[in-house]
Symmetry: C2
Subunit: 454 residues, 2 copies
């Protein structure tokens, strides 16, 4: 596709480009622009030419799906008139998203080119804290009065609808307070003369402007809404959040969890948009903390130097035992953290979780210990320097104890974090592994010194 | 809430229960049932009584949001008539979901109570493989003819709409082939006499029945649709998938990634619904593989026994060096795997990723090495048994080399897995940690033997 467009552009065959744009989804056109931009396949001053070939009704949509770098380039090439057209065709929440990533001079230009009403609404949304429901919402929605007839309501929607992001959920307000909702489907299938008041649903689920986007995502996942109303503290209707934004939030939340669970400070930007320096900054703090914590394990190992002087072979089992402990711990902590973030596991389930993980640890520990015991016995049985049975028993006991300990630590710590109102995701693999390393080393050497009588 | 209901039930004040049900969202009612069931707060034979108090139009909805155990209990208590009412009020895709979790005798009862048309559609969906687009879809949608006027189309929707899961996207078919889409918004805002053919969008994005749910989730995330049409190989329209099911898929896919990345075999069931035995089964295979792989590191350590006999202190640095390597590797592999699953990182970006990670590794490695070198020098400078400078240099060099090596391994392996058409998620923390353990141990000891001249 990009090559066809480039060829047409070379040939100055603008009609052909215009025609092919008609058959492509706006999102795919935005992706085309993005590829040409990212791979530097087109000079920077040619993009505005290409953008002017877009169908009029697609331009704003295409613009809204681009990366901020591409948007900045275009905004700086737009005439005032062009900028005005694009901004006034955008949904308010998209304009706000765009503005948030732009330098001040371009923001000023964008806000100036919006009409008075749009400008007021943009400013209103910009006032809400980042990641709050208010910052995600769109202030364009359809509000009806309770005394409308179905026929009147349909007429209003047919007249107003084209500028609203979703018309599929209708909100009934009285003195600006949200008193009911009605799906467009319910409206359409009702009698023409029925009154909105009689068919609306008064049991309204909403979020407040200041609530975190996590609450928004959870509410969407729970109730399967196409749109969620946003109200202020007095239940006055302020805006709506649509399911497509909620889907983005759900993905962002998962990405944040992945990052935190890998001991990386979460970042809003995509991998390639983040500089090497920023990436390093996001990772170094946890690496330092964990590195320094790991020295504890080192100190413990050196304190047992008598043991590994007596049976030097013991040292070679450390990586296997600490590794297994770490893996068992990561499995458990990941399951618990994910379960809590999906709402499947709650704090009051603590006892149930411990019981379950203890059972799992017994089963897994037994299998691992058995396999290991047999392997050690076979490997060292003919070695006159080693008491194969004692070694097999020591390592097997250490393994089963390590598995149980690490699974227990890995379910206690995330739940404790939650209890302390911290994000459980910080108690994921890296932290658990470091703690389990220390504990399993102590376990192993204290067992070994007892069993070998060192 | 549950206590109020229980009290009313005790008092046989059914009217009060019926009234309070009217003010609660169906999903919250289902949750109430579920809590009473899970916590065994109500005898099992009382649930059907409670269910009969639901508003008629809410019953099927509430039923569809329950867990399968609760549903089974109800189905076995339903009269034939009740079952019929519930099943014929459910959306087909919900019925299929319910059926998939039930024992054969109840499935037979459910299918028998559906009307002929519903039964046919249920059977059609059941034929598609699990996790395919076909298994997710709903066969109830609104198809229009291209020659309808807007007025005719609106009338049809008003008549048919109530039984369809979404009427907000309309599909135009000809000889059953999908030739266009039209949003209800576009239809409502068009002239009464306009022809559907002239206002429909012929650039239709669809998925095929056999495609994986991952493709479905990606298409939804990319295009922000409220519904996605599902077609067969000949572009014949078969069904639709709605955004709420897509949201569930997006969450499921993320959960699967979390599980795989923690070396747990992914499972469809929630944490508590999975038995201890099943949990252990899902975890033991990777634990065994990783445990046995870790013995390699052990063998390497014992082969360097001359080194740690000469400088016993060396052994105590192993956990810190391998731990740091593992953490650096986990950070990188998590970022790469998540980036690939979001489509931000593609295989052709390989060189860019390696370059970026190398830079990050240099920065992080330098900081970690410096902090460590200084720490070691301070700690051991006054110790006459140790050459503090040599030790600081050795450990610092080992750290920086380990960081670079582990970040490189951690970006190569997931991308290699993708290239080999494996799931990159298996190359996450546990596997990377095990590999990095071995490599960093070798690195450390070969550096140490060289520097200390052992």
């Amino acid at each position: 596709m990009q090559n066809t467009v480039l060829t047409y552009l070379e040939e100055r065959n603008f009609k052909a480009i215009r025609n092919s744009f008609k058959d492509i989804n706006e999102i795919d056109i935005a992706e085309l622009f993005q590829t040409l931009f990212d791979e530097e396949m087109l000079e920077r001053d040619k993009f505005i030419l290409l953008f002017r070939l877009l169908p009029k009704d697609a331009a704003a949509d295409v613009f809204s799906y681009m990366d901020s770098d591409m948007q900045m380039l275009l905004v700086s090439s737009f005439t005032d008139k062009e900028l005005q057209n694009v901004i006034n065709d955008l949904y308010i929440d998209d304009t706000v998203d765009i503005i948030e990533d732009m330098p001040a001079n371009l923001v000023a230009r964008i806000i100036k080119s919006a009409d008075a009403e749009t400008r007021k609404q943009i400013n209103a949304i910009l006032r809400y804290p980042k990641d709050s429901a208010g910052s995600l919402m769109n202030t364009e929605y359809i509000a009806l009065r309770r005394d409308y007839t179905v026929r009147q309501a349909i007429d209003i929607i047919r007249k107003l609808g084209v500028n609203k992001e979703t018309v599929y959920t209708l909100y009934i307000t009285e003195n600006r307070k949200l008193i009911g909702v009605l799906s467009l489907l319910e409206l359409l299938t009702a009698d023409d003369d029925a009154i909105v008041n009689d068919i609306m649903d008064t049991n309204v689920i909403s979020v407040q402007t200041h609530e975190d986007k996590e609450v928004v995502a959870d509410t969407f996942s729970k109730y399967d809404f196409a749109a969620l109303p946003v109200v202020d503290a007095d239940n006055r209707m302020i805006g709506i959040i649509t399911f497509d934004d909620a889907m983005d939030v759900i993905e962002e939340e998962a990405t944040e969890d992945f990052e935190k669970m890998a001991a990386v400070a979460p970042s809003d930007e995509s991998y390639f948009k983040t500089s090497i320096f920023k990436h390093a900054k996001n990772r170094i703090l946890w690496l330092l903390i964990l590195m320094l914590s790991a020295t504890v394990t080192g100190v413990i190992i050196s304190s047992y130097d008598a043991a590994f002087a007596a049976v030097p072979l013991l040292v070679s089992f450390i990586p296997m035992i600490t590794g297994t402990g770490g893996n068992c711990g990561s499995q458990t902590s990941t399951m618990i953290i994910r379960g809590m973030s999906l709402g499947e596991i709650r704090l009051k389930d603590f006892a149930k979780v411990i019981f379950k993980e203890f059972g799992i640890a017994l089963l897994c520990g037994a299998v691992l210990a058995l396999v290991n015991g047999v392997r050690i016995f076979i490997m060292y049985n003919s070695d006159p320097m080693v008491d194969a049975i004692l070694l097999a028993v020591t390592v097997s006991l250490a393994i089963i104890a390590t598995v149980i300990m690490s699974k227990c630590i890995a379910c206690i710590l995330p739940m404790l974090a939650k209890k302390l109102k911290l994000d459980p995701a910080i108690m994921a693999a890296p932290v658990i592994t470091t703690i389990v390393d220390t504990c399993s080393t102590v376990l192993f050497f204290s067992l070994a010194t007892k069993i070998f009588g060192i």
